[in-house]
């Protein structure tokens, strides 16, 4: 048994990240966010709260920087020097980038965060011992730690009736983060499996993607040539895997945040477009 296991694992996971560690995966969930369409309205963020049982921490703890928003919208002013931000604000929906060579994975002492055959950064809550190393090693700072037990404070009766039974309510001492709504993926895959087919674009969307009023977010399976997200990645000539992108049209929009750090994120952002008047 174990020997077989060795051989399987070896043949399956031999390939390194630089040659696209994800090639052997069943799926490679990926996202595309068009920052030109993102109006920063928070719909995605709140949808995430509703879907993923995110705790509301309250004013004091928010002040201490202990908020639990998996998907936060970062707002920047581009023109620091001008008196008025005449180009408006820049909004950046920042959630876990599900890096292929994630920096959070190797450092977890108990392998509570690891890479699934779907190419996701899994976070197994009940395995986590709360060393918080993963979060320290995350350049995007998108991992959130349960510093307290929120169940009573955040969901007083009967608010707790809203909790989504498809995923746990994390208790204190556990690290958590965006999972691309893995519970939805799970349901969709089960359904597809029962119908003996592969999961397609239309089967499900993560809560944020579903709710986005301007449809700025696109989600899908990168390995599925036909999927919308794959087409977009190809259109913007960004490949998953290689450290160095070779775009035929270098001016093409489309970049990944902190690409230089070579963590190979699965979220493609399209630059925000502004017209000089």
């Amino acid at each position: 048994m174990s020997l077989e296991n060795v051989l399987n694992n070896w043949s399956k996971y031999r390939r390194g990240a630089e040659e696209g560690g994800h090639h052997d995966y069943e799926h490679k969930w990926a996202m595309m966010i068009n920052l030109d369409l993102c109006i920063g309205c928070n719909a995605c963020s709140t949808a995430c709260y509703a879907e993923n049982n995110l705790a509301v921490v309250g004013k004091d703890r928010f002040e201490k920087g202990q908020a639990m928003h998996w998907l936060r919208i970062e707002r920047y002013w581009d023109q620091a020097e001008q008196e008025f931000p005449e180009q408006g604000a820049s909004f950046l929906p920042m959630m876990c980038q599900q890096c292929n060579s994630a920096t959070c994975e190797p450092v977890c002492p108990v392998a509570a965060t690891y890479h699934t055959p779907d190419g996701l950064n899994a976070q197994v809550y009940n395995r986590c011992i709360g060393s918080r190393y993963c979060s320290n090693n995350c350049p995007f700072r998108v991992r959130y730690f349960n510093f307290y037990s929120y169940y009573e404070s955040s969901w007083p009766e009967p608010l707790n009736m809203q909790l989504n039974p498809d995923l746990t309510v994390r208790d204190k001492g556990v690290m958590e983060k965006c999972t691309f709504c893995v519970q939805r993926i799970r349901v969709a895959k089960d359904k597809a499996k029962m119908e003996n087919r592969k999961v397609g674009d239309e089967d499900f969307k993560p809560a944020c993607v579903q709710s986005c009023p301007t449809s700025a977010m696109v989600f899908g399976d990168y390995l599925d040539e036909g999927s919308q997200v794959r087409k977009l990645w190809d259109k913007y000539q960004v490949k998953m895997g290689p450290a160095k992108q070779d775009k035929q049209e270098p001016d093409m929009r489309g970049y990944r945040v902190f690409e230089g750090l070579n963590t190979d994120p699965s979220v493609l952002y399209l630059e925000r477009v502004r017209e000089k008047v």
């Binding site: 369409l37 920063g40 309205c41 928070n42 719909a43 963020s45 709140t46 949808a47 509703a50 049982n53 509301v56 309250g58 004013k59 928010f62 002040e63 908020a67 928003h69 919208i73 920047y76 581009d78 008025f84 005449e86 408006g88 604000a89 820049s90 950046l92 809550y125 009940n126 037990s149 009967p158 608010l159 707790n160 009736m161 809203q162 909790l163 989504n164 039974p165 746990t168 309510v169 994390r170 208790d171 001492g173 349901v187 809560a207 579903q210 009023p213 449809s215 700025a216 049209e249 093409m252 929009r253 945040v257 952002y269 630059e271 925000r272 477009v273 502004r274 017209e275 000089k276 008047v277």
Partner: protein, 737 residues
């Protein structure tokens, strides 16, 4: 979903560990396996085919978190509704949903809901049964002169409106006041007069350029945020990509997404618009013939240069805007709250809307929605004029009975109106409400309303999207509290008291709706043969698409009296902008934790209210980020934190609405301040709306300081590429945008 009996049995269907299933005992050592015989599991009594435990089912319904009437669908599992999403069938929001819609769940499951009817007996509220409560009301109604009975509601539409009108009629009363703080009544008035339709259809998807004078269509404008966000997406993804210019006192969400954002002091917009018109006529020889003489003269008085002096908006910039508008036709010029909220708001709005005529946008990007087939169901949109009128009536002791539903005037009325005192003159105040908000707290009879996720109903969007429709509302789960009732049921009960013979036949509002639906023309039924089938079909779709007879807009431009720029007051040098947060809205959502914790889109502050000040102004006053300041008008003052924000006109101080509740449950109570309280009771001359942007204030520093609770430590990206920005030319080259 057949009949109400099964609905009733929903509660019995709950189970499968109920709520417990969600709590993953992550705290206990994970070596545990659950011990047997600890958890209860309740089997169904009489299951329905479509209900499978462990499998979520989506039911269509309608969102009533604001007046937009977005179609929603809620995920129901084991008899609990868990998640709200947009209903793809609804052309209002086409499957999307905003923050407020998402958070509707927390209103439904809110721990601070009123569970039972209450009656105020010598000062203190006491729980009573429905029968007694209704009896008390009916006695009063029967006794009272119908003309002295008033209904005070928020925007209302659909069969609730029908029933309400019937009720008023049966009372012989015409006193129905519709109050919304966030509304565009002035713009509607202008459109009605100019175009012959209060709410024309704005075709963003056709427009090549949008010039918005404070019209925050991504936020509060026409209170249909999701719809316009979708339109905005079309507008941006057009080829060529649409150009958005926003001229407003405080950067709204729309301004934040504009290509060019120009700060303007409230009240100066009209002048700018006229200057642009002037340019269009003189520099780009647009045909001014369509305009009446006086208007042409008026435009003539506003040359770019002169206006530039008055408004500090550079002349060449005005010229440039005119040029762009000329180039990019068809375009769209919109006016919003800051323009309307002036004493001469009507004129100002008219001056702006007139640009659309000049640019020939009418019929191009501004179309007639057509006549709605069921006029009686159409929405009655609310404004602030009714608030003032009601207050006046109450002051004059013209009211014996007043019903309050879906609005919270005690909170939203400025102190100067003395609304509280006025209320005292009303013999009996009946509040139909889910929560103990400020108004309800003053009521004599309190009827606990069912949440919109527990209730039946029909709604019609005030602003008609491409496909006008009746949006169906159905319960997504069994009532949390058996003793609450839907608004429709209450109306029906009151009606049955008035004329039994007509309304006695309906067991409840649901029955009434079924009847109403069966009365609809056959064309609205999927299968005219089977009533049941078509009804279920409608419920499944969630919307009834309504045919409209298309009409064209008139382009009659009346006189426009000169929009004067308000004189600045040396004692009160700043203008107060009571801004709307997409989230807390006018304060009705302050009790939803998700929305409290969702940062303001621009200032990124949470859980609090604050005053936005431009750094230059703050410098003058020696104010820093987080210093506690006193913002005082002639009619009151509020004390709150200062937040320095560049997206602001220097002569303006912006305070977001929504906080400062004295009641309204644990999450809202005693948090922040309410800017509406210090508004001056100025009225727009023509429409009588409250001039909300015409209040002058001054700032005094208390010397205290506190940390501003917000996300985001830096305002700039520190030269690190988090959000990349590219010029449109580059995109044109690469993507042909």
């Amino acid at each position: 979903m057949t009949g109400t009996i099964n609905r009733r049995s929903f509660i019995k269907m709950m189970g499968w560990g109920g709520v417990g299933t969600a709590l993953g005992g992550c705290d206990v050592p994970t070596t545990v396996t659950l011990e047997e015989g600890k958890e209860d599991v309740v089997s169904y009594l009489m299951p329905e085919e479509y209900v499978i435990p462990g499998v979520g089912v989506w039911y269509a319904s309608t969102c009533t978190q604001c007046a937009a009437a977005c179609g929603t669908q809620g995920r129901v599992r084991e008899g609990r509704v868990l998640k709200m999403e947009g209903n793809p069938n609804s052309s209002v929001n086409s499957g999307k949903l905003c923050v407020m819609g998402q958070a509707g769940l927390q209103g439904h499951y809110n721990p601070d809901r009123i569970k039972e009817p209450m009656i105020r007996k010598n000062g203190s509220l006491s729980l009573v049964g429905w029968d007694q409560a209704l009896a008390t009301i009916n006695d009063k109604l029967n006794a009272a002169d119908g003309a002295r009975v008033a209904w005070f509601t928020g925007t209302i539409s659909g069969h609730q409106k029908v029933l309400l009108n019937a009720l008023l009629e049966s009372n012989g009363s015409s006193k129905h006041y519709v109050h919304e703080v966030v509304g565009n009544k002035v713009l509607q008035a202008v459109s009605r007069d100019m175009l012959g339709d209060a709410m024309p259809k704005y075709r963003f998807d056709k427009a090549k350029m949008i010039l918005s004078f404070g019209a925050d269509f991504l936020g509060s404008w026409m209170s249909s945020p999701v719809h316009f966000a979708g339109e905005y997406a079309k507008f941006r993804t057009n080829k060529p990509r649409g150009l958005l210019v926003a001229i407003e006192p405080k950067m709204t969400l729309t301004g934040g997404n504009a290509d060019l954002w120009i700060p303007a002091r409230p009240g100066t917009e009209a002048a700018i618009a006229l200057a642009i018109a002037n340019e269009l006529i003189n520099a780009h020889n647009k045909d001014a013939a369509i305009l009446p003489e006086s208007v042409r003269n008026l435009i003539g008085q506003h040359s770019a240069e002169s206006v530039a002096k008055q408004t500090a908006v550079a002349a060449d910039r005005i010229k440039r805007l005119a040029q762009l508008l000329n180039e990019r036709s068809p375009s769209l010029v919109l006016a919003g709250a800051p323009v309307e909220g002036q004493t001469n708001g009507y004129a100002a709005t008219a001056a702006i809307m007139l640009l659309n005529h000049l640019l020939g946008n009418i019929g191009q990007t501004i179309e007639s929605p057509g006549a709605f087939a069921f006029a009686q169901l159409e929405a009655t949109t609310g404004g602030t004029a009714d608030l003032i009128a009601f207050t006046q009536n109450a002051k004059d002791k013209n009211l014996d009975v007043a019903f309050f539903y879906g609005t919270n005037p005690v909170y939203s009325a400025p102190d100067a109106l003395k609304f509280g005192d006025a209320l005292k003159n009303i013999g009996m105040k009946v509040a139909i409400s889910q929560f103990m908000d400020e108004t309800t707290a003053q009521a004599d009879v309190i009827l606990p309303a069912a949440s919109y996720l527990e209730d039946w109903g029909t709604h019609v969007a005030a602003y008609h999207s491409e496909q006008p429709a009746i949006s169906m509302q159905q319960p997504l789960m069994e009532k949390l509290y058996e003793t609450t009732r839907g608004f429709g049921d209450v109306l029906l009960a009151l009606l049955q008291n008035k004329n039994k013979d007509k309304y006695g036949q309906y067991a409840d509002y649901y029955a009434y709706l079924r009847h109403a639906f069966s009365a609809m023309p056959a064309s609205y039924k999927e299968n005219p043969a089977s009533e049941e089938h078509s009804w279920n079909a409608v419920l499944q779709k969630g919307v009834i698409k309504v045919q409209t007879t298309d009409e064209s807009l008139s382009t009659s431009i009346a006189e426009i009296d000169t929009p004067t720029i308000p004189a600045s007051d040396s004692a009160y040098p700043l203008t107060l902008v009571p801004s709307v947060r997409l989230g807390l809205w006018d304060g009705r959502h302050a009790n939803l934790p998700w929305l409290q914790e969702a940062p303001d889109q621009i200032a990124k502050v949470v859980w609090d209210s604050w005053a936005e000040i431009h750094p230059s102004t703050a410098k003058k006053l020696g104010i820093e980020q987080g210093s506690i300041i006193k913002v005082s008008s002639k009619h009151g003052e509020v004390t709150l934190k200062a937040v320095l924000l560049k997206g602001l006109h220097p002569d303006v101080v912006a305070i977001p609405m929504g906080q400062g509740h004295t009641e309204y449950g644990r999450f809202a109570k005693g948090l922040g301040v309410n800017p509406l309280k210090i508004l001056a009771p100025e009225q727009e001359q023509k429409t009588g709306e409250l001039a909300m942007y015409a209040t002058n204030v001054k700032i005094t520093d208390t010397g205290k300081k506190d940390t501003v609770v917000k996300i985001g430590s830096t305002d700039t990206q520190m030269g690190r590429k988090l959000v990349g920005t590219v010029p449109v030319e580059q995109v044109r080259r690469t993507e042909g945008a």
